[in-house]
Symmetry: C2
Subunit: 242 residues, 2 copies
């Protein structure tokens, strides 16, 4: 049976003892009904999987002994950032969950000219997205949570793109050149996907003239913005992570 | 501005006049508020896009004149069937919507040994999935609706697989062999994705021993069943549709 995964704070690892606290402890005890002697995988974001056995419950904390430690094999071998223009309603929930599962390392939400959705003051929304991502991290076997950043504008995105080996821009006017046509051993990759309204002409021009930007098509059909993000992430991971 | 798409019945094409009837006419008139002189693309599932202009409203029908007819370029160039084991809750909604956008031609829902969800008697559910698919067809620019079949068992799936050039089985124990490693000019392709519980050992064995079956991994992370379907469909279209 597949072992469950729970997060712990690195400060709660002392010798071969890990103490699970907070929400994860509550979830393990009250929802998953783990008992003394049960095993699970404890993760803290350092790339390691701690296989532990429960030895004691103290108040709402769970005391565990480490049985073995292994390198986590689900953590991505390429560093992919998804720049996603703001989307309406709960579409960002889907993007965050699926991009985390697929292997994206960082998601940057930004406002572009044609965005209908706005971000200002939605700190609750960021909490929610982080929670979705942490759940997806555990579910898909990754050991490290992904980073989600909001409150960017298109100009902030432009300013960062020189930091990447390869920038992949899902461009609605691109033809006959897809992600699988990009060859190279790229390790630090950015994906840029627009909002429901796409990008303005001047935004497209600003992106297309950058030297490391590949303007690609995602196929012959018009994908919804959230589908484009999921598809582009899947193609990038399949193409560049060996 | 992108023209909207509405379905019409092929019998309602007479010379250069198309009559839009039923739900699509109601939607065009009352929701999209189209008026006389407005243009849209009328589709009827024959691979053609009819560019039309509204000339008259008669009762709840819309009478249009055909301006030009073009081959639809969004219809997939490969024939992909997604065999999807039944999933819980509304996950099939997501699979159907995304697979339609991505370019799958047919979706076959089937019950396997470890399926928690059952299909029996859910004709409402099939109506709902068909409706989602028709909407996605129009949204992504395809001219032909996809086919959705339910009420299959695993054995029915097995019996059909000889009809495909290439069968792609998303197998959780596969390693180092992904969809992008499959080379060949395949035109008729099946994708097989399990339920939340995966496949039983005997089901896996039955699939793996078929000659045209490729047992592939979808990467280093454990994908939810619905994510696996979306990712596999995206990779197949990118790899085999030129």
């Amino acid at each position: 049976m597949k072992l469950k995964r729970f997060h712990f704070d690195i400060n709660n690892l002392i010798d071969d003892t890990i103490t699970l606290t907070g929400q994860d402890a509550v979830h393990a005890k009250d929802v998953m009904r783990l008992k003394i002697g049960d095993e699970f995988i404890a993760i803290c974001g350092n790339g390691l999987d701690y296989y532990v056995k429960i030895v004691e419950f103290i108040d709402s904390n769970i005391i565990c002994k480490v049985q073995k430690v292994e390198q986590n094999l689900a953590d991505p071998q390429v560093d992919v950032t998804l720049y996603q223009a703001l989307l309406k309603a709960d579409k960002l929930d889907l993007v965050v969950q699926k991009a985390t599962e697929i292997g994206v390392q960082k998601i940057v939400l930004f406002q572009s000219e044609f965005c209908v959705a706005k971000w200002q003051g939605k700190s609750n929304k960021l909490d929610r997205l982080n929670k979705i991502s942490v759940e997806a991290t555990k579910q898909c076997g990754r050991s490290e949570p992904i980073t989600i950043v909001a409150d960017y504008f298109f100009s902030d995105v432009l300013n960062e793109l020189a930091n990447y080996d390869c920038v992949i821009f899902a461009y609605e006017n691109a033809k006959d050149y897809g992600i699988l046509d990009i060859k190279g051993d790229y390790k630090k990759i950015a994906i840029i996907v627009g909002s429901e309204g796409g990008f303005s002409q001047s935004e497209c021009q600003a992106l297309c003239k950058l030297k490391n930007v590949h303007c690609i098509t995602l196929g012959h059909r018009i994908l919804r913005a959230e589908t484009a993000s999921i598809v582009a992430s899947a193609l990038v991971m399949a193409q560049f992570e060996k």
